[in-house]
Symmetry: C2
Subunit: 115 residues, 2 copies
DNA sequence: TGTCGTACTACGACTGTCGGAGTAAATATA
DNA sequence: TATATTTACTCCGACAGTCGTAGTACGACA
């Protein structure tokens, strides 16, 4: 069965994360689970990819973090919320997607021409 | 206006090239022009990207090269043709595209939810 | 004479992703 | 009670596709 390669998905992890943050602030583990369930296990983001995307996007001003220090056992959890710049970035990426899809589909042959 | 970033297109250059080679053997400069015109200038592949894709795909057995030595001025031109493995690779990538598109579109919000 | 188009090659840098390892507490299972 | 799994991360180095820059060389056109 076809699998989604990281080259293909590269550049979309950002919009996956931003899309989920549009609804609620959230944190790594939850985002990861949401991506998995929303795609029906078709795409499972790697932990390292996810957390490095957080760092990168925070540096770029697309998201902001805040820490919940009051978890059971004195544990912490780092939440992220989307910024206005993040919303704009998401919108731009969404437009880019429309264009990209158009371009790619010009190179998708139908079954007949493959025989 | 939206531009297509290399991260987004990454992983598709192979299928652009293979798609064109499905019809005829061809060479770098021509492939480049065909991509440009077919996408109405929306995507212009960089020379270095194109030629390194050739090398990579030949190494992977997806394409084969042959040289035309009889050009005017004693010049040469390297042509590429797709192999059976290349056709299979193309088919697999095409299936992957269907899946990828499905996945990505789950993260594309409609305008309303962005206000 | 000089620029543009054709047709490449070489080299090094960049960046997102990934594999592997490590940490540590809470909860579920045996 | 002992062990495995889940939760929630961090750090490090490697990989690979893309890209910027530069260089080569011939022909056609102005």
């Amino acid at each position: 069965m076809a699998e989604i390669s990281s080259d293909v998905i590269r550049g979309y992890n950002d919009i996956f994360i931003l899309y989920l943050l549009l609804k609620n602030p959230s944190y790594g583990y939850e985002i990861s689970k949401q991506i998995r369930t929303l795609t029906e296990e078709k795409y499972i983001i790697k932990e390292t990819t996810l957390y490095s995307a957080f760092t990168r996007m925070e540096k770029n001003g697309f998201i902001e973090s805040f820490v919940d220090e009051d978890l059971a056992g004195g544990k912490k959890r780092t939440y992220y919320r989307i910024t206005q710049a993040g919303v704009e970035h998401y919108k731009a990426k969404r437009e880019e997607w429309v264009l990209t899809k158009e371009v790619i589909e010009k190179f998708i042959a139908d079954e007949g021409s493959l025989l």
